[in-house]
Protein backbone atom coordinates (compact mmCIF):
# COMPACT_ATOMS: atom_id res chain seq x y z
CA UNK A 1 0.00 0.00 0.00
CA UNK A 2 1.54 3.34 -0.91
CA UNK A 3 1.64 6.49 1.18
CA UNK A 4 -1.49 8.11 -0.22
CA UNK A 5 -3.67 5.07 0.03
CA UNK A 6 -2.61 4.63 3.67
CA UNK A 7 -3.58 8.24 4.29
CA UNK A 8 -6.88 7.68 2.55
CA UNK A 9 -7.57 4.57 4.58
CA UNK A 10 -6.82 6.59 7.70
CA UNK A 11 -9.07 9.45 6.65
CA UNK A 12 -12.02 7.20 5.88
CA UNK A 13 -11.96 5.34 9.18
CA UNK A 14 -15.03 5.94 11.35
CA UNK A 15 -12.83 7.34 14.12
CA UNK A 16 -11.33 10.10 11.98
CA UNK A 17 -14.65 10.84 10.33
CA UNK A 18 -16.36 11.21 13.69
CA UNK A 19 -13.59 13.56 14.70
CA UNK A 20 -14.36 15.62 11.60
CA UNK A 21 -18.05 15.61 12.47
CA UNK A 22 -17.20 16.94 15.92
CA UNK A 23 -15.07 19.69 14.40
CA UNK A 24 -17.95 20.57 12.11
CA UNK A 25 -20.42 20.68 15.00
CA UNK A 26 -18.15 23.00 16.96
CA UNK A 27 -17.41 25.30 14.06
CA UNK A 28 -21.07 25.62 13.07
CA UNK A 29 -21.96 26.13 16.74
CA UNK A 30 -24.49 23.32 16.75
CA UNK A 31 -26.17 22.61 20.08
CA UNK A 32 -24.59 19.16 20.13
CA UNK A 33 -22.81 18.81 23.45
CA UNK A 34 -21.46 15.88 25.44
CA UNK A 35 -22.31 16.00 29.13
CA UNK A 36 -19.16 16.24 31.22
CA UNK A 37 -20.02 12.94 32.91
CA UNK A 38 -19.96 11.21 29.52
CA UNK A 39 -16.60 12.72 28.65
CA UNK A 40 -15.22 11.51 31.97
CA UNK A 41 -16.82 8.08 31.58
CA UNK A 42 -15.36 7.61 28.10
CA UNK A 43 -11.93 8.70 29.33
CA UNK A 44 -12.15 6.27 32.22
CA UNK A 45 -13.11 3.47 29.91
CA UNK A 46 -10.43 4.16 27.32
CA UNK A 47 -7.60 4.50 29.83
CA UNK A 48 -8.64 1.41 31.77
CA UNK A 49 -9.02 -0.65 28.63
CA UNK A 50 -5.66 0.40 27.20
CA UNK A 51 -3.84 -0.26 30.45
CA UNK A 52 -5.49 -3.61 30.96
CA UNK A 53 -4.83 -4.80 27.43
CA UNK A 54 -1.22 -3.69 27.70
CA UNK A 55 -0.85 -5.48 31.01
CA UNK A 56 -2.18 -8.75 29.67
CA UNK A 57 0.16 -8.41 26.70
CA UNK A 58 3.13 -7.80 29.01
CA UNK A 59 2.23 -10.87 31.07
CA UNK A 60 2.09 -12.88 27.85
CA UNK A 61 5.33 -11.55 26.41
CA UNK A 62 7.24 -11.74 29.69
CA UNK A 63 9.12 -8.89 31.32
CA UNK A 64 12.35 -10.00 29.65
CA UNK A 65 11.05 -9.03 26.24
CA UNK A 66 9.54 -5.81 27.49
CA UNK A 67 11.95 -3.99 29.74
CA UNK A 68 14.20 -2.62 27.02
CA UNK A 69 11.49 -0.92 24.92
CA UNK A 70 9.85 0.24 28.14
CA UNK A 71 13.07 1.92 29.19
CA UNK A 72 13.26 3.58 25.79
CA UNK A 73 9.74 4.93 26.36
CA UNK A 74 10.64 6.31 29.79
CA UNK A 75 13.71 7.89 28.22
CA UNK A 76 11.55 9.53 25.57
CA UNK A 77 9.29 10.97 28.28
CA UNK A 78 12.30 12.61 29.94
CA UNK A 79 14.03 13.63 26.75
CA UNK A 80 11.25 15.44 24.90
CA UNK A 81 10.72 18.23 27.46
CA UNK A 82 14.46 18.81 27.43
CA UNK A 83 14.35 19.19 23.65
CA UNK A 84 11.20 21.29 23.54
CA UNK A 85 11.94 23.64 26.42
CA UNK A 86 14.91 25.57 24.93
CA UNK A 87 13.12 25.83 21.57
CA UNK A 88 10.08 27.33 23.26
CA UNK A 89 12.24 29.67 25.31
CA UNK A 90 14.53 30.94 22.60
CA UNK A 91 12.66 30.66 19.32
CA UNK A 92 9.19 31.06 20.80
CA UNK A 93 10.12 33.70 23.34
CA UNK A 94 7.96 32.04 26.01
CA UNK A 95 8.75 32.71 29.63
CA UNK A 96 10.03 29.92 31.81
CA UNK A 97 6.67 28.82 33.21
CA UNK A 98 4.91 28.68 29.85
CA UNK A 99 7.79 26.93 28.16
CA UNK A 100 7.86 24.32 30.95
CA UNK A 101 4.12 23.81 30.74
CA UNK A 102 4.11 23.29 27.00
CA UNK A 103 7.15 21.02 27.24
CA UNK A 104 5.34 18.88 29.83
CA UNK A 105 2.34 18.54 27.53
CA UNK A 106 4.47 17.45 24.57
CA UNK A 107 6.53 15.02 26.61
CA UNK A 108 3.31 13.42 27.80
CA UNK A 109 1.28 11.30 25.45
CA UNK A 110 -2.17 11.10 23.97
CA UNK A 111 -3.71 7.69 24.54
CA UNK A 112 -6.37 8.39 21.94
CA UNK A 113 -3.80 9.15 19.25
CA UNK A 114 -2.10 5.91 20.18
CA UNK A 115 -5.28 3.91 19.66
CA UNK A 116 -5.97 5.63 16.39
CA UNK A 117 -2.49 4.52 15.35
CA UNK A 118 -3.09 0.89 16.32
CA UNK A 119 -6.27 1.01 14.25
CA UNK A 120 -4.32 2.41 11.37
CA UNK A 121 -1.79 -0.40 11.62
CA UNK A 122 -4.53 -2.99 11.80
CA UNK A 123 -6.21 -1.50 8.76
CA UNK A 124 -3.08 -1.74 6.66
CA UNK A 125 -2.25 -5.13 8.22
CA UNK A 126 1.07 -4.20 9.84
CA UNK A 127 1.78 -6.19 13.02
CA UNK A 128 3.05 -4.55 16.22
CA UNK A 129 4.15 -5.60 19.67
CA UNK A 130 0.90 -5.95 21.59
CA UNK A 131 2.56 -4.81 24.82
CA UNK A 132 3.11 -1.42 23.21
CA UNK A 133 0.24 0.11 25.15
CA UNK A 134 2.36 -0.36 28.24
CA UNK A 135 4.48 2.50 26.90
CA UNK A 136 1.62 4.92 27.44
CA UNK A 137 1.56 4.15 31.10
CA UNK A 138 5.18 5.10 31.72
CA UNK A 139 5.75 8.25 29.68
CA UNK A 140 3.47 10.77 31.35
CA UNK A 141 4.94 10.92 34.84
CA UNK A 142 8.56 11.58 33.86
CA UNK A 143 7.49 14.14 31.26
CA UNK A 144 5.29 16.06 33.66
CA UNK A 145 7.93 16.08 36.39
CA UNK A 146 10.59 17.15 33.91
CA UNK A 147 8.45 19.88 32.38
CA UNK A 148 7.41 21.25 35.75
CA UNK A 149 10.97 21.32 37.03
CA UNK A 150 12.08 23.15 33.90
CA UNK A 151 9.18 25.54 34.29
CA UNK A 152 10.11 26.24 37.90
CA UNK A 153 13.77 26.60 37.17
CA UNK A 154 14.51 23.85 39.68
CA UNK A 155 16.85 22.21 37.20
CA UNK A 156 18.94 25.23 36.27
CA UNK A 157 19.08 26.95 39.66
CA UNK A 158 19.56 23.75 41.60
CA UNK A 159 17.49 23.00 44.66
CA UNK A 160 18.53 26.20 46.41
CA UNK A 161 15.35 26.62 48.48
CA UNK A 162 13.18 23.78 49.70
CA UNK A 163 10.40 23.59 47.15
CA UNK A 164 7.15 22.81 48.87
CA UNK A 165 5.16 22.66 45.65
CA UNK A 166 7.35 19.97 44.17
CA UNK A 167 5.98 17.27 46.43
CA UNK A 168 2.49 18.06 45.26
CA UNK A 169 3.67 17.95 41.64
CA UNK A 170 5.24 14.57 42.15
CA UNK A 171 2.02 13.34 43.71
CA UNK A 172 -0.06 14.77 40.87
CA UNK A 173 2.26 13.32 38.26
CA UNK A 174 2.10 9.86 39.76
CA UNK A 175 -1.37 9.76 41.32
CA UNK A 176 -3.21 11.95 38.83
CA UNK A 177 -6.16 10.01 37.50
CA UNK A 178 -4.68 9.51 34.02
CA UNK A 179 -1.49 7.88 35.20
CA UNK A 180 -3.18 6.03 38.06
CA UNK A 181 -5.72 4.43 35.74
CA UNK A 182 -3.16 3.47 33.14
CA UNK A 183 -0.58 2.08 35.53
CA UNK A 184 -3.20 0.49 37.75
CA UNK A 185 -4.95 -1.26 34.89
CA UNK A 186 -1.60 -2.31 33.48
CA UNK A 187 -0.77 -4.04 36.74
CA UNK A 188 -4.23 -5.59 36.90
CA UNK A 189 -3.76 -6.90 33.37
CA UNK A 190 -0.37 -8.33 34.31
CA UNK A 191 -1.72 -10.00 37.44
CA UNK A 192 -4.93 -11.42 36.05
CA UNK A 193 -3.45 -12.35 32.67
CA UNK A 194 -5.19 -14.37 29.99
CA UNK A 195 -7.85 -15.75 32.29
CA UNK A 196 -8.81 -12.32 33.49
CA UNK A 197 -8.92 -11.14 29.89
CA UNK A 198 -11.34 -13.90 28.97
CA UNK A 199 -13.87 -12.67 31.50
CA UNK A 200 -13.79 -8.98 30.64
CA UNK A 201 -12.83 -9.03 26.97
CA UNK A 202 -16.39 -8.41 25.80
CA UNK A 203 -16.35 -5.09 27.62
CA UNK A 204 -12.77 -3.85 27.44
CA UNK A 205 -11.74 -5.10 24.00
CA UNK A 206 -14.56 -5.92 21.59
CA UNK A 207 -16.50 -2.63 21.64
CA UNK A 208 -13.37 -0.55 22.06
CA UNK A 209 -13.12 0.81 18.50
CA UNK A 210 -16.66 2.04 18.56
CA UNK A 211 -16.24 3.77 21.90
CA UNK A 212 -13.17 5.44 20.50
CA UNK A 213 -15.16 6.69 17.52
CA UNK A 214 -17.75 8.22 19.83
CA UNK A 215 -15.02 9.78 21.94
CA UNK A 216 -13.41 11.29 18.88
CA UNK A 217 -16.70 12.96 18.06
CA UNK A 218 -16.37 14.70 21.40
CA UNK A 219 -12.68 15.41 20.90
CA UNK A 220 -13.52 16.98 17.56
CA UNK A 221 -15.86 19.36 19.35
CA UNK A 222 -13.30 20.15 22.02
CA UNK A 223 -10.64 20.77 19.39
CA UNK A 224 -13.06 22.83 17.32
CA UNK A 225 -13.90 25.02 20.29
CA UNK A 226 -10.17 25.65 20.65
CA UNK A 227 -9.79 26.83 17.06
CA UNK A 228 -11.01 30.26 18.04
CA UNK A 229 -7.99 30.59 20.32
CA UNK A 230 -5.57 29.91 17.50
CA UNK A 231 -5.38 33.56 16.57
CA UNK A 232 -4.59 34.55 20.11
CA UNK A 233 -1.69 32.17 20.58
CA UNK A 234 0.33 33.56 17.74
CA UNK A 235 2.06 32.09 14.71
CA UNK A 236 5.00 30.54 16.55
CA UNK A 237 2.83 28.14 18.50
CA UNK A 238 1.05 27.15 15.31
CA UNK A 239 4.34 26.23 13.69
CA UNK A 240 5.49 24.52 16.89
CA UNK A 241 2.28 22.50 17.05
CA UNK A 242 3.01 21.10 13.60
CA UNK A 243 6.81 20.82 13.74
CA UNK A 244 7.25 19.50 17.28
CA UNK A 245 5.36 16.26 16.64
CA UNK A 246 7.52 15.60 13.61
CA UNK A 247 10.76 16.20 15.48
CA UNK A 248 9.65 14.26 18.56
CA UNK A 249 8.13 11.55 16.43
CA UNK A 250 11.36 11.07 14.48
CA UNK A 251 13.27 10.84 17.75
CA UNK A 252 10.78 8.24 18.92
CA UNK A 253 11.15 6.27 15.71
CA UNK A 254 14.92 6.30 16.12
CA UNK A 255 14.82 5.14 19.71
CA UNK A 256 12.22 2.50 18.90
CA UNK A 257 14.36 1.11 16.12
CA UNK A 258 17.40 1.03 18.42
CA UNK A 259 15.38 -0.71 21.14
CA UNK A 260 14.63 -3.49 18.69
CA UNK A 261 10.97 -2.84 18.04
CA UNK A 262 9.30 -3.95 14.82
CA UNK A 263 8.13 -1.44 12.21
CA UNK A 264 4.70 -1.42 13.83
CA UNK A 265 6.04 -0.99 17.36
CA UNK A 266 8.44 1.70 16.18
CA UNK A 267 5.52 3.56 14.60
CA UNK A 268 3.64 3.41 17.87
CA UNK A 269 6.56 4.72 19.93
CA UNK A 270 6.95 7.51 17.38
CA UNK A 271 3.26 8.31 17.64
CA UNK A 272 3.52 8.53 21.42
CA UNK A 273 6.59 10.74 21.20
CA UNK A 274 4.89 12.95 18.61
CA UNK A 275 1.60 13.19 20.48
CA UNK A 276 0.85 15.57 23.30
CA UNK A 277 -1.32 15.21 26.35
CA UNK A 278 -4.70 16.69 27.17
CA UNK A 279 -5.71 14.39 30.00
CA UNK A 280 -2.86 13.82 32.43
CA UNK A 281 -0.78 16.95 31.88
CA UNK A 282 -3.30 19.83 32.06
CA UNK A 283 -4.47 19.29 35.62
CA UNK A 284 -1.03 18.51 37.05
CA UNK A 285 0.68 21.36 35.24
CA UNK A 286 -2.04 23.88 36.05
CA UNK A 287 -1.44 23.43 39.75
CA UNK A 288 2.32 23.16 39.56
CA UNK A 289 2.90 26.06 37.19
CA UNK A 290 0.03 28.45 37.87
CA UNK A 291 1.74 31.29 35.99
CA UNK A 292 1.61 29.35 32.75
CA UNK A 293 -1.37 30.23 30.63
CA UNK A 294 -3.29 27.01 29.90
CA UNK A 295 -4.57 28.54 26.68
CA UNK A 296 -1.14 28.07 25.11
CA UNK A 297 -0.58 24.44 26.00
CA UNK A 298 -4.16 23.30 25.45
CA UNK A 299 -4.66 25.12 22.17
CA UNK A 300 -1.41 23.75 20.78
CA UNK A 301 -2.15 20.25 22.09
CA UNK A 302 -5.81 20.01 21.23
CA UNK A 303 -6.26 22.51 18.44
CA UNK A 304 -3.17 21.78 16.38
CA UNK A 305 -1.14 18.72 17.29
CA UNK A 306 -3.98 16.33 18.03
CA UNK A 307 -5.83 16.83 14.73
CA UNK A 308 -2.57 16.88 12.82
CA UNK A 309 -1.52 13.54 14.28
CA UNK A 310 -4.89 11.91 13.79
CA UNK A 311 -5.11 12.96 10.18
CA UNK A 312 -1.57 13.12 8.83
CA UNK A 313 0.95 12.37 11.56
CA UNK A 314 0.20 8.70 11.96
CA UNK A 315 0.85 7.71 8.34
CA UNK A 316 3.96 9.91 8.38
CA UNK A 317 5.44 8.24 11.46
CA UNK A 318 4.79 4.93 9.80
CA UNK A 319 6.76 6.01 6.74
CA UNK A 320 9.62 7.15 8.95
CA UNK A 321 9.59 3.85 10.82
CA UNK A 322 9.60 1.92 7.55
CA UNK A 323 12.51 4.02 6.34
CA UNK A 324 14.56 3.41 9.49
CA UNK A 325 13.93 -0.33 9.28
CA UNK A 326 15.06 -0.67 5.74
Amino acid sequence: MDFFSTIESNLLSPAVLFFALGLFAAVTRSDLKFPEALYTALTLYLLTAIGFKGGVAVSEAGLAAVWQPLLAAVGMGCLIPLVAFPLLRRLGGFDQANAGAIAAHYGSVSAVTFIAATNFLKNIAVPYESFASAFIAVMDSPAIIMGVMLGKGSLSRGASRPDQGLRRTLRDAVLGRGVLLLVGSLLIGMLSGKRGMASVEAFFVTPFQGVLALFLLEMGMVAGNRLGDLKKVGPFLLVFGLAAPLVHGSLGALLGTLAGLSVGGTTLLAVLAGSSSYIAAPAAVRLALPDANPAYSLTASLGITFPFNIVLGIPLYFEIAKFLHR
Binding site: Y39, V222, Y278, P282, A283, R286, L287, P290
Partner: protein, 100 residues
Protein backbone atom coordinates in the same frame (compact mmCIF):
# COMPACT_ATOMS: atom_id res chain seq x y z
CA UNK B 1 -37.49 31.69 66.26
CA UNK B 2 -34.70 34.13 65.67
CA UNK B 3 -32.44 34.53 62.68
CA UNK B 4 -28.82 35.50 62.95
CA UNK B 5 -26.90 37.59 60.45
CA UNK B 6 -24.02 35.81 58.76
CA UNK B 7 -21.98 36.26 55.62
CA UNK B 8 -22.15 34.00 52.62
CA UNK B 9 -18.83 33.94 50.82
CA UNK B 10 -18.99 32.69 47.24
CA UNK B 11 -15.95 31.63 45.25
CA UNK B 12 -15.98 30.69 41.56
CA UNK B 13 -12.75 29.12 40.39
CA UNK B 14 -11.13 26.46 38.27
CA UNK B 15 -12.07 22.92 39.25
CA UNK B 16 -8.43 21.96 39.83
CA UNK B 17 -8.40 24.42 42.72
CA UNK B 18 -11.32 22.95 44.64
CA UNK B 19 -9.18 20.85 46.92
CA UNK B 20 -6.85 23.74 47.73
CA UNK B 21 -9.67 26.20 48.36
CA UNK B 22 -11.37 23.77 50.72
CA UNK B 23 -8.05 23.27 52.50
CA UNK B 24 -7.69 27.01 52.90
CA UNK B 25 -11.21 27.23 54.27
CA UNK B 26 -10.37 24.62 56.84
CA UNK B 27 -7.19 26.45 57.76
CA UNK B 28 -9.28 29.59 58.30
CA UNK B 29 -11.44 27.67 60.74
CA UNK B 30 -14.53 27.46 58.54
CA UNK B 31 -16.77 24.58 59.62
CA UNK B 32 -18.38 23.54 56.36
CA UNK B 33 -18.86 24.34 52.71
CA UNK B 34 -21.03 23.58 49.72
CA UNK B 35 -19.72 23.16 46.18
CA UNK B 36 -21.12 22.47 42.73
CA UNK B 37 -19.84 22.44 39.17
CA UNK B 38 -20.63 25.41 36.99
CA UNK B 39 -19.66 26.71 33.59
CA UNK B 40 -18.94 30.31 32.80
CA UNK B 41 -17.09 33.00 31.02
CA UNK B 42 -14.88 35.80 32.21
CA UNK B 43 -11.60 37.52 31.51
CA UNK B 44 -9.98 34.14 30.85
CA UNK B 45 -12.49 33.18 28.21
CA UNK B 46 -15.11 30.48 28.07
CA UNK B 47 -14.90 27.67 30.61
CA UNK B 48 -17.42 25.07 29.63
CA UNK B 49 -17.84 22.05 31.75
CA UNK B 50 -17.08 19.55 29.02
CA UNK B 51 -13.62 18.56 30.17
CA UNK B 52 -13.18 18.42 33.89
CA UNK B 53 -9.63 19.67 33.44
CA UNK B 54 -10.98 23.01 32.26
CA UNK B 55 -14.10 23.17 34.38
CA UNK B 56 -15.31 25.70 36.93
CA UNK B 57 -16.59 25.13 40.41
CA UNK B 58 -18.64 27.38 42.68
CA UNK B 59 -17.95 27.10 46.41
CA UNK B 60 -20.24 28.68 48.98
CA UNK B 61 -19.47 29.09 52.67
CA UNK B 62 -21.40 30.59 55.50
CA UNK B 63 -19.19 32.30 58.05
CA UNK B 64 -19.50 34.63 60.99
CA UNK B 65 -19.72 38.22 59.75
CA UNK B 66 -16.37 39.14 61.24
CA UNK B 67 -14.63 36.18 59.56
CA UNK B 68 -15.69 36.97 56.01
CA UNK B 69 -13.22 39.64 55.08
CA UNK B 70 -10.20 37.81 56.43
CA UNK B 71 -11.30 34.76 54.49
CA UNK B 72 -11.58 36.79 51.31
CA UNK B 73 -8.21 38.36 52.02
CA UNK B 74 -6.63 34.92 52.34
CA UNK B 75 -8.23 33.78 49.10
CA UNK B 76 -6.98 36.88 47.36
CA UNK B 77 -3.46 36.45 48.66
CA UNK B 78 -3.19 32.80 47.74
CA UNK B 79 -4.98 32.54 44.41
CA UNK B 80 -5.88 35.80 42.73
CA UNK B 81 -2.61 36.40 41.00
CA UNK B 82 -2.36 33.10 39.18
CA UNK B 83 -5.85 31.73 38.75
CA UNK B 84 -9.23 32.50 37.25
CA UNK B 85 -11.25 33.32 40.33
CA UNK B 86 -14.19 35.45 41.36
CA UNK B 87 -15.07 35.92 45.03
CA UNK B 88 -17.77 37.88 46.77
CA UNK B 89 -19.67 38.07 50.00
CA UNK B 90 -23.31 38.77 50.75
CA UNK B 91 -25.56 38.99 53.79
CA UNK B 92 -27.67 36.06 54.88
CA UNK B 93 -29.62 35.24 58.03
CA UNK B 94 -29.40 31.72 59.40
CA UNK B 95 -31.03 29.54 61.97
CA UNK B 96 -28.68 27.92 64.51
CA UNK B 97 -25.76 30.36 64.48
CA UNK B 98 -23.65 28.08 66.65
CA UNK B 99 -23.10 25.83 63.63
CA UNK B 100 -20.94 28.33 61.80
Amino acid sequence: MSLHPMKLVTVICESVLEEQVVELLRDCGVQGHTAFDVRGSGSQGLRNAEMRECGNVQIEVIVKPEAASSLLENLRAKFFEHFAMVAYESEVRVLRPQKF
